[in-house]
Amino acid sequence: MDFTFTADEQAFAAEVRRFLRDRPPSTFAIDGMDAGYGSGANSKAFIRALAERGWIRMCWPRAFGGDERPMFFKLVLLEELARAGAPFGPLPGIWQTADAIIEYGSERLRTEVLPAIARGEASFWQGYSEPDAGSDLLALKTEARRDGDDYVIRGHKIWSSHAGIATHGLIFTRTSREARRSRGFSMFVVPNGTRGMDIRPITSLTGEVYHYEVFLDEVRVPEGLRFGPEGEGFVALLNGLDSDRFWGRFYKAPALERVLHRLVEYANTTRVDGVPLARDAGLRRRLAAMATELAALRWLFYRAACQFRDGAPITYETAVAKVMADETGQKLARLGMDLLGMWAPLRAGSPEAKLDGEISHAYLTSLGHTIAGGTAEVLRTTVATRGLGLPAGAR
């Protein structure tokens, strides 16, 4: 049992902190809104800056242009970026796509898309959900029909994050009707701008655009842009879901710690009738209790990380971690709103706004977190059935 970071990991953390000092995150242009997950806003310029340091490809095999650094370097990088509030939004999705290309990718994906990822020039939207296939993903209707060396995709995807500013879609389709409901799916990597792809923004409850819906009308895709064998997309997707829950939330604990520290600072410096808010016994207790929950959340993710690293089987560990990350985030946002009182609803840029309007934004965006990437209900059922062996089926 050991809870210390290796000397290499600590040295790398220091290197990342130096980078963040030299290139302050606030100086990078922002392309898309911060959806509150902890990975900040979408900034292509920031992703390119990470790529220049070689940090996007650092854990890939050498044969694919990587440096074969241990997986924990990614965790170190994510924690440092999240603590600094950096705009690394697309990075986790970029890494996952790269890993999938290295594992399942065609020659074409490996020679065309992977190098673009390494240069920080590619980012991806997930074309999974459909209007009638949300929690029941396998009910999807988008079809890819074989036509010579190509496929022709027809369908309608929705809730695709930052689809309008990404470079490629990961489009999950049905390629055949099979007796088993989980067979017959294939995943494609489709460049934005391909003829027949119509990407339309959905204005979110914050007033900004985060999600898009995508209409696919006879979109022609060469076979070389398919992940793995035809019809076996669901296996790849399922393997991906555990890692999706992990890489989509790992940085939430350090990001929430950053927010908590801002609230502590606010409580220390804000006086009511001459007394700092920090002296309020009830408030002290709530902030302290939240700090313990964030510490607990962080180690919950590190335990899953060790399982990934050691090749130990994952049944429920990423599901339970995602549920806790999202519910804790909502709780912290609520606590922050309570602390700010009458100032709580003011948005960024408003006169009188406190903490840059970050808390009201977090309050709103966090509402989506227990829905996106598997609802808290679906994931609790996963924990109970896949993790504890309770009977599946009856809902």
């Binding site: 809870f3 313990t292 549920v323 209900e377 089926g393």
Partner: protein, 350 residues
């Protein structure tokens, strides 16, 4: 390198404990009725457990605090009664800091032939040594200590005073041990000191830092006990959800029960991770104990709901484990004390 796995020696300690306690410390209240705490203690002593923190040169078994934590987690899992935490963790930690003069006493503690406990809490009801009032400066001690565990079994009382620590034989003239009646957990006592004579040899030469470290070890051990108890409750609840049939199917097929069980897993896993991190010095003991107290009590209460009416009966073990968690959540610092420490640690101005 971050690693949650116990070493192979630690795994052996844990599996030995699991098997020994399964055979000698039944969880069912009716089978437990005849359990002899002292006999169980002697068996544990033969396995070298009370001497884990003590070096082999003095007769101990050369363990680490992490070993102790893993063992106490098993004690919690089996709901083991007795003086282990007050004697083998808290009092032993303090006596270890007391220098060569304590070696003989430590040898006897290691073999389990001697039992010690720590008396600290006063009228304020707090484990914070900063607010203590009792003193033996005059060479006499008068006053009382509250919520002292294992006082009935202890040969030595390690008494933390405003201005130092004294070690007194529990049968010294002027000392009275008055049992309190709590709803559960190990017996608690009020210890009264009526003009008790304190000699130079009774004084334990330890720093305030050593006192704080011993209290932390006690708090960490109680955290481990809660985590082990919550793990037991989780296992019992899942077993019940799989086997209890209502309306023609196991209740664990219902989403309401499934989701309740998922929340048990979250509470147990998080409390355990924080415990191990704290045992390895990677986070605050205060945070680990405050978090585990809330999480493990929530596990117990939710389990009552999963079990339904049967868990309201005296003959069902759940209430007994629940009461032990409650007692552990208060011993060596309650949630109020530990959350205030966390509040300071995160920078909230006092």
């Amino acid at each position: 390198m971050i690693d949650f796995r116990p070493s192979s020696a630690q795994q052996l300690l844990v599996s030995t404990a699991r098997e020994y306690l399964r055979r000698h410390c039944p969880i069912e209240p009716d089978r437990r009725a005849g359990l002899d705490v002292i006999q169980l203690w002697r068996g544990m002593a033969e396995l070298g457990w009370p001497g884990l923190l003590i070096s082999s040169g003095v007769g101990g078994s050369d363990g680490t605090l992490v070993d102790v934590i893993l063992l106490v987690e098993e004690l919690g899992y089996a709901a083991v009664p007795g003086p282990f935490v007050p004697s083998a963790v808290a009092a032993t930690s303090l006596l270890l800091a007391g220098g060569a003069r304590q070696q003989r006493r430590l040898t006897e503690l290691a073999t389990g032939d001697r039992i010690a406990t720590v008396a600290l809490v006063e009228e304020r009801g707090s484990f914070d040594p900063a607010g203590l009032t009792l003193t033996a400066a005059s060479g006499r001690l008068t006053g009382r200590k509250l919520f002292v565990g294992a006082a009935d079994l202890a040969d030595d009382l390690v008494v933390v005073l405003r201005d130092g620590v004294v070690v007194l034989p529990s049968d010294r003239r002027g000392i009275a041990r008055v049992p309190l009646q709590a709803i559960g957990g190990d017996p608690l006592f009020e210890v009264r000191f009526d003009d008790v004579e304190i000699g130079a040899d009774d004084r334990l030469a330890v720093t305030a830092g050593a006192v704080a470290a011993a209290l932390e070890a006690g708090a960490l051990a109680r955290t481990a006990e809660m985590v082990g108890a919550a793990r037991r409750i989780l296992e019992m609840s899942v077993e019940h959800a799989k086997t209890r049939v209502q309306g023609g199917r196991p209740i664990g097929g219902h989403q309401a029960i499934q989701h309740a069980c998922a929340d048990l897993v979250r509470d147990v896993d998080t409390a355990r991770g924080l415990l191990y991190a704290a045992a390895c010095d990677a986070s605050d003991v205060a945070a680990a104990k405050a978090y585990a107290s809330e999480a493990c009590l929530t596990v117990a209460r939710r389990a009552h709901q999963i079990f339904g009416a049967i868990s309201y009966c005296a003959e069902h073990p759940l209430h007994m484990i629940h009461k032990r968690i409650l007692a552990a959540s208060l011993d060596f610092g309650d949630t109020t004390l530990h959350l205030e420490r966390v509040a300071r640690a995160i920078g909230l101005e006092a």
